[in-house]
């Protein structure tokens, strides 16, 4: 018997199209597993020739799960490009919309996409291991999850007119002020959102306590970590400096996002449409790092809101103050950030500037080039535009959140495959663990390839001449 290959396609309960191939050696052990991101749309090319001010409407179509990230990053790049700094109330309102998105995206991922693995178990029947199954098993919890997502989505709708692909941020500010009654409406939902997130935190803590063995052998590995921070190195999602730390937790860089090209490069592999960013000074692959909830909590020293900060202390203690390396703790970190976002909504709504009508800077000092950076739910997002003197785009460069985690997802898939797939019999549950390695990162593959998708799963064991030796399907 020669080498064999297993294919998992599509990977489900993630956003985007991907498949996993697992190559087995002569002895039937895993030689290497690959995550192939299987879609390409080409936003960087087809935006050429458009006007810069169209970008806050075009680029959200990169991703319908976190459209606000692209909407705001495009607006921030356009602020720079036109030399039009938004007034403070406009920045507060943009951040408020961003918090709405973090809550809906993180909340949905935990309860609706990843949660079923935790509630039902990795080996549960795939026909019920999903959000519909959750409605049947625990309708009260399912409705709380629906309510949390709705709370975040309604913040976006109240500000931007619609829940998905809103029209709100414009170069130099926003197009609508917040009314007093709208402020009250959002405020009325904060406590319930916080309570639901705390239910989630109890759930993940209970699950972690009962599944410590899995947590400690499921894709645990060192890497660098990268994310935005406040001036005192606290967690920051909308605007701040970028902090990069090494695998021991020591700071490697702290830089202005506008200068990202001096610090970050992208590597291309032939087997994926998703590029692999890395820290330039250390080169590929030594300079790999992780972003998103785990990356950000490893990079941040504290959180400015009290409940989330208490949770951060517990999180930091997991590895004695060193960076937390366990892939499955992404779920835990995601909920702590979600708690921060809910608390932050209240802080923003209590700011005396939040109801101000000073929301647009109409003064322009046209520069023709601009970089917009923020923390999307899944990690650091860069939009970089160059225009001609009319404002027509000549070049566009995007580095999208999930892209930074491409190495980590690939490494996690390989690691989990090697840890769990050891014998000749491969079960659906084992393959679901391999998918869960991808799912933990909450990848947004539409975003990352400026493309989108989903996956069914067929696993074929194929010998070197292409004969199917065993076929395992997860269809109906």
């Amino acid at each position: 018997m020669g080498t064999q290959k297993i294919t998992i396609e599509p990977v489900t309960r993630i956003e985007g199209h991907a498949k996993v191939t697992i190559h087995l050696n002569e002895q039937g052990a895993v030689d290497h597993a690959y995550l192939h991101v299987n879609e390409f749309r080409g936003f960087e090319k087809f935006c050429e020739g458009r006007m810069y001010f169209e970008m806050p409407m075009i680029t959200p179509r990169i991703c319908g799960i976190c459209p606000v990230s692209h909407h705001l990053a495009a607006a921030k790049a356009s602020d720079e490009l036109t030399g039009s700094t938004p007034p403070r109330p406009a920045s507060l309102l943009r951040e408020l919309m961003h918090m709405g998105q973090v809550i809906q995206s993180h909340g949905m991922h935990f309860f609706e996409l990843a949660g079923p693995d935790l509630v039902f178990g990795f080996d549960a029947d795939p026909a019920t291991r999903n959000v519909v199954g959750l409605i049947g098993l625990d309708p009260a919890l399912a409705l709380k999850a629906v309510g949390l997502r709705k709370f975040g989505q309604e913040i976006i709708r109240i500000l931007g007119g619609r829940r998905i692909h809103p029209n709100f941020a414009v170069p130099g500010g926003v197009n609508k002020a917040l009314k007093a009654e709208e402020r009250e409406q959002i405020l009325a939902g904060v406590d319930e959102a916080v309570a639901t997130i705390q239910v989630g935190l109890q759930l993940i803590k209970g699950w972690a306590a009962a599944n410590m063995e899995d947590i400690n052998k499921f894709a645990v590995f060192p890497s660098g970590y990268l994310g935005l921070v406040t001036p005192d190195d606290g967690l920051e999602l909308y605007d701040g400096a970028i902090r990069l730390i090494g695998q021991d937790g020591g700071q490697l860089e702290r830089f202005d996002g506008r200068n990202y090209l001096d610090y970050i490069s992208e590597h291309v592999e032939d087997w994926s449409y998703l590029k692999f960013p890395y820290y330039k000074k250390m080169g590929w692959p030594d300079g790999v790092y992780r972003v998103g909830p785990l990356g950000r909590l490893n990079v941040a020293k504290q959180i400015s809101t009290p409940l989330a900060n208490e949770e951060l202390k517990i999180f930091k203690a997991l590895n004695g103050g060193k960076p937390v390396e366990n892939t499955l703790y992404y779920h835990y970190a995601r909920l702590i950030e979600c708690l921060f976002a809910a608390e932050r909504v209240k802080v923003l709504l209590d700011d005396p500037d939040i109801l101000s009508n000073d929301i647009l800077n109409t003064h322009k000092d046209f520069k023709g080039v601009g970089v917009g950076v923020l923390e999307a739910p899944r990690g650091t997002l860069f939009h970089h535009y160059w225009t001609n003197e009319m404002g027509q785009l000549q070049r566009v460069n995007l580095i999208v959140a999930t892209g930074h985690n491409n190495w980590a997802m690939s490494k996690a898939v390989d690691s989990v495959a090697k840890t769990y797939i050891t014998g000749p019999v491969i079960t659906e549950g084992l393959l679901n663990r391999v998918e869960a390695a991808v799912r933990a990162h909450d990848p947004c593959l539409s975003c990352s390839t400026h493309a989108v998708g989903q996956m069914p799963m067929v696993v074929d064991l194929v010998d070197p001449s292409g004969n199917v030796l065993q076929s395992l399907r997860r269809n109906a």
């Binding site: 390409f40 799960i65 580095i399 989903q454 109906a476």
Partner: protein
């Protein structure tokens, strides 16, 4: 009478249409009562039942060989096919790629972009789907119901789902065609 089976998938879209579906909020419980929800991007079954489903829903247009396969399989296995959202209905924003050659788009992304290192190359592994011209869904397979919008309004999606789940054909006209 058995509940009608519904399957959905997303191809060249942004997931926004499925997010708008989730924006029906609590009414998802009603849909789960009326219909048997089979393979979808947010559940774990990987493809529509081989024995067939009553309703197939596709978000997104078709821009590569993998999307073509998904579209053909869904068409073959469902009785009524719904094109959900602007990309499926007429190509949407991603159809802007048709102003350029596929080669130009790939070169920009994987070779020329300022952050791509000197070893950039266009991925071409046989495991990957091959990009094609961007097409609406009905340029590839026959479609029964068109629901435009970027994304379609959740109320319209709820109307379409609840009608189909009760064996009726939804009519998309008037206010149901407005999405903005």
């Amino acid at each position: 009478m058995a509940k009608p089976k519904i399957s959905s998938d997303w191809i060249m879209g942004c997931a926004g249409c499925h997010m708008s579906l989730l924006d029906i909020d609590e009414r998802i419980v009603k849909i789960a009562e009326l219909a048997d929800i089979r393979s979808t991007p947010v559940t774990d079954l990987k493809e529509p039942d081989e024995s067939g489903v009553d309703v197939g829903i596709l978000e997104g247009g078709v821009n590569n060989t993998a999307n073509e396969e998904v579209a053909h399989k869904m068409r073959k296995r469902c009785k009524t096919l719904v094109a959900l959202g602007d990309c499926a209905v007429f190509g949407g924003v991603p159809a802007m790629r048709n102003f350029f050659t596929i080669e130009e788009s790939l070169r920009r992304a994987y070779v020329e972009t300022e952050s791509t290192d000197a070893e950039g190359k266009i991925p071409s592994d046989p495991e990957l789907a091959v990009p094609t011209k961007v097409r609406s869904l009905d340029e590839v397979v026959p479609v029964d119901i068109f629901v435009p919008g970027c994304p379609p309004d959740p109320d319209v999606i709820y109307y379409v789902l609840s009608e189909l789940a009760q064996g009726r054909m939804p009519e998309i006209s008037g206010d149901k065609l407005h999405w903005h």
